[in-house]
């Protein structure tokens, strides 16, 4: 199997396992899911280093969402202090 296909399939399996695992623990915070997806995506992308047709839109999107969530969390903590 070529590396590109293996990359997509690994990503699919990892995302499914993460979702099932977190929902089994009754996790209700969407940011936890998205953060883990981002971490998983970057780890698997670094592992397989696939070729992309265009600029890595997914990576950039996940990174921005992750940054937004971290910023909101920091603001939340600061506002309670």
């Amino acid at each position: 199997m070529d590396r590109q296909k293996l990359y997509v399939e690994t990503l699919g399996v990892v995302f499914s396992v993460m979702t099932i695992w977190l929902s089994a623990y009754n996790e209700q915070r969407l940011e936890v899911y998205v953060s883990l997806f981002a971490a998983g995506y970057f780890a698997i992308t670094a592992l397989f280093r696939p070729r992309k047709r265009l600029f890595d839109v997914v990576g950039a999107g996940l990174f921005l969402v992750f940054c937004y969530m971290v910023a909101m969390k920091v603001l939340d903590i600061l506002s309670t202090v």
Binding site: D2, R3, Q4, K5, Y7, V8, L11, G12, F15, S16, M18, T19, L22, S23, E27, Q28, R29, L30, Y33, V34, F37, Y41, P50, R51, K52, R53, L54, F55, D56, V57, V58, L62
Partner: protein, 250 residues
């Protein structure tokens, strides 16, 4: 972001993986909205988001996973044979790029001085052999390392600059950009950001540098007329090549 690349990509045939990716994106987006707004379920929303991420990733995966740098190395390697052939026959004259015959574009290299342009129409009728005879004079037919599939992907009604950009910038990644201008029977091609450098003096003298020789093939294919390489100027990573389109009465 390179808009030409985006345009090319959107015009590509949708393969199975791309179709699956688009399907996943649409399904994931709808499912995430439904789960978040109506079902009020965070795990199902996350499942929808994961489908969107997976779908976009699938769409972004290219059909052809071969690196352009590998293709460049292979093409550079194949030029060694041409260099050896030109050395062997002591070819000195500039070549003429001939339009496709049996789907292949090739270059005619006269072995005697001053017989290149006068024999060009006879060369188009000559038997396709490496060593050939055109109008009683010896010559070489050089098959350049640009494949039929690559040229046929251009399409018959493409403009020259578009075709050059497709082959040299998008497919082979030889250059960063290419510009083409026509004035009468002269065609000037300015190739910027060249990524290939070949130390093949005879090849350069007869066929021009590797990007120029590929450009010659592409132009001969697009114009469907013979093109003579008139001059080539290399300045750092910028190559300016001038071709002359041959017409029967010219």
């Amino acid at each position: 972001m390179n808009l030409t690349r985006v345009r090319e990509y959107l015009h590509e045939d949708v393969d199975q993986y791309t179709a699956a990716g688009i399907g996943l994106v649409v399904f994931g987006a709808l499912f995430a909205d439904l789960a978040f707004l109506i079902l009020l379920s965070v795990p199902l929303t996350a499942l929808g988001i994961s489908c969107v991420v997976l779908g976009i990733t699938t769409v972004l995966i290219p059909k052809n996973p071969i690196l352009a740098s590998n293709i460049r190395s292979m093409i550079k390697g194949s030029c060694l044979n041409i260099e050896a052939l030109l050395e062997e026959f002591d070819a000195e004259e500039r070549c003429v790029y001939l339009p496709p015959r049996d789907g292949r574009v090739f270059a005619y290299v006269p072995l005697k001085a001053g017989h290149g342009l006068s024999n060009v129409w006879q060369a188009m009728e000559a038997p396709i052999r490496v060593v050939t005879e055109v109008g009683g004079e010896p010559g070489l037919m050089i098959f350049l390392p640009v494949s039929n599939d690559m040229l046929s992907s251009i399409g018959g009604d493409s403009k020259a600059e578009e075709a050059l950009s497709n082959i040299l910038v998008e497919q082979l990644e030889f250059l960063e950009s290419v510009k083409e201008a026509e004035s009468g029977d002269k065609v000037v091609v300015r190739m910027s950001g060249s990524r290939v450098e070949t130390d093949l003096p005879r090849f350069k003298k007869v066929l021009g540098s590797l990007p120029t020789s590929i450009a010659g093939c592409v132009l001969a294919f697009v114009f469907d007329k013979p093109l003579a390489l008139i001059e080539e100027e290399v300045s750092g990573r910028v190559i300016t090549a001038t071709f002359e389109v041959q017409t029967k009465n010219g």
